[in-house]
């Protein structure tokens, strides 16, 4: 039995290992650009969603903080001023003409003014906003409980998702309006609110005025800003890119729990 590796074979193996290293890394990049491989990697999202839903109760509450723990400023990320004439007109009159449309799989579709939204049962919470990029900021939010609004419009039993259509165009020429979607567990969650105040002031334009969704057990991009319309649906594959949100259509996870 030969116990020692011959020098020639050793050289070959060394080269093979370093070549494999280079090939593997460029292979990873080639794989990233296929359609099938990222879809396979997406299995991780499904596993994470199932595991997180198994580990934490449906109604588990996100951590809340004290006034002193608030961030000095609440960072604005993504859109800080929607580039659309319609939005600019609304903002110019301090959203006096704003109406939130609620429709889809509901018994009583509704159109609510800001005053009507403010009249709904509200919740105030100091929570941490976790951006997918990695940073966090703590702010105090006040808003209408989404559950109260959904009870008012009477969601039909076949509804599975709430879709939020926003005012901010993400593409050039006013195209690709931002949108997001959440499931019914998150929609009826106690901390899910349509926020109209940040740190005791009316919600600033840079943070999503007049209405921003807070869905505290999810990453930042799920918290849609500039919400104009809510639609209850049983599926979202027919909406825009079909993945349930603007960033989801651009490769991010629909389930943003991690």
């Amino acid at each position: 039995m030969k116990l020692r590796v011959r020098p020639s074979r050793r050289r070959f193996l060394t080269r093979a290992v370093s070549a494999a290293g280079v090939l593997t890394l460029s292979g990873c990049d080639a794989l990233s650009r296929t359609t099938w491989f990222p879809r396979l990697l997406g299995a991780g999202e499904k596993l994470s969603q199932s595991a997180q839903q198994l580990l934490t109760p449906r109604r588990s509450m996100a951590q809340e903080f004290t006034e002193a723990e608030r961030s000095p400023q609440f960072r604005s990320n993504g859109t800080s001023m929607p580039d659309s004439p319609e939005y600019e007109a609304l903002a110019a009159r301090e959203f006096a003409d704003y109406h939130l449309q609620v429709g889809g799989l509901v018994v009583k579709p509704a159109s609510l003014t800001l005053a009507a939204l403010r009249a709904l049962p509200s919740r105030t919470q100091i929570t941490r906003h976790d951006c997918v990029e990695g940073w966090s900021a703590i702010g105090k939010w006040k808003g209408a409980k989404l559950a109260a609004l959904l009870d008012q419009v009477q969601v039909r039993p076949e509804a599975r998702f709430a879709v939020f259509y926003c005012a901010d165009p993400m593409g050039d020429n006013g195209t690709d309006l931002y949108y997001e979607s959440i499931d019914m567990d998150d929609a009826f969650h106690a901390q899910t609110i349509l926020a109209y105040e940040l740190n005791d002031e009316p919600l600033p334009v840079k943070n999503g005025a007049p209405i921003r969704l807070r869905v505290e057990r999810q990453l930042g991009y799920k918290h849609a800003k500039y919400v104009m319309r809510i639609e209850l649906v049983d599926a979202f594959d027919h909406i825009a890119g079909g993945k349930g949100g603007y960033w989801e259509d651009n490769g991010y996870e629909w389930y943003a729990g991690i």
């Binding site: 996100a62 960072r75 999810q218 990453l219 490769g251």
Partner: protein
Amino acid sequence: MPTENVAAGVRTGTYLYYRHTLPVRIMHWINVVALTILLLSGLNIFSAHPALYWGQSSYTGHGPFFDISAREKANGDLVGVTRLFGREFVTTGVLGASAGDDGDLIPRAFPSWLTIPDARWLAMARRWHLFFAWVFVLNGLCYLVYVVASRHLARDLAPTKTDWRSIGASIIDHLRFRHPRGEEAKRYNVLQKLAYLAVIFILLPLVILMGWAMSPRLDSFLPGWVDIVGGRQSARSIHFVVAWLLVAFALVHVFEVIVSGFWNHLRSMITGRYRVDAEARDETAR
């Protein structure tokens, strides 16, 4: 040259010893692949916000204790800057600013040859990272069940009383790059055991736990549990630091493998067979 340990009943001469069982070998290599991808995709994710903070949020009034950025000189050239505890280091070419597709410097925290994917692409890096996180966690769980059930942990990894007494000698041996030979090489030495145990039971669980701490949903498991380590941003910093401690372990591990018989160790982790030279003189004669 000592011709040590040729005790009664012990085989003499050079022979192959079955060192690593098939499950251990498979799990070892799955771990190599998973941890490598986790590190490289993690560096891409970090590049989306290349700054580390201590506390619950990134906006506490204190700046980051570590950050990587790019600055433009008066002539328009990019300078990569890395800051640690207020000290500034110019790291152009590697950190902060490194070569883009066309070879020109572009602002990016880690260079493209150190990230998966090569381009700054957070969505794709997260897919790689969160998929291989599962590969790594499930592999790790299988490993834990296996080492307990097979008694590999108790038999080969747990330090014995003799081990604890030999710790001083073992440190000196390591510093002098003197490695056990013959029958002694068949078992792990005490520093090796402690290093493996620290990685298996401290660093790896910690890196997983700090990953979970970054999840808003898992933070709701017991609201406030992430404050044990100082908050979510502290957890993110610990996740990053532990990742580099694991890199440090891997470097020392590979170094030790090289200096104590690279091909012999590599073969034993592929085929399971490890060559034992009972008589050192025999080796030179071959």
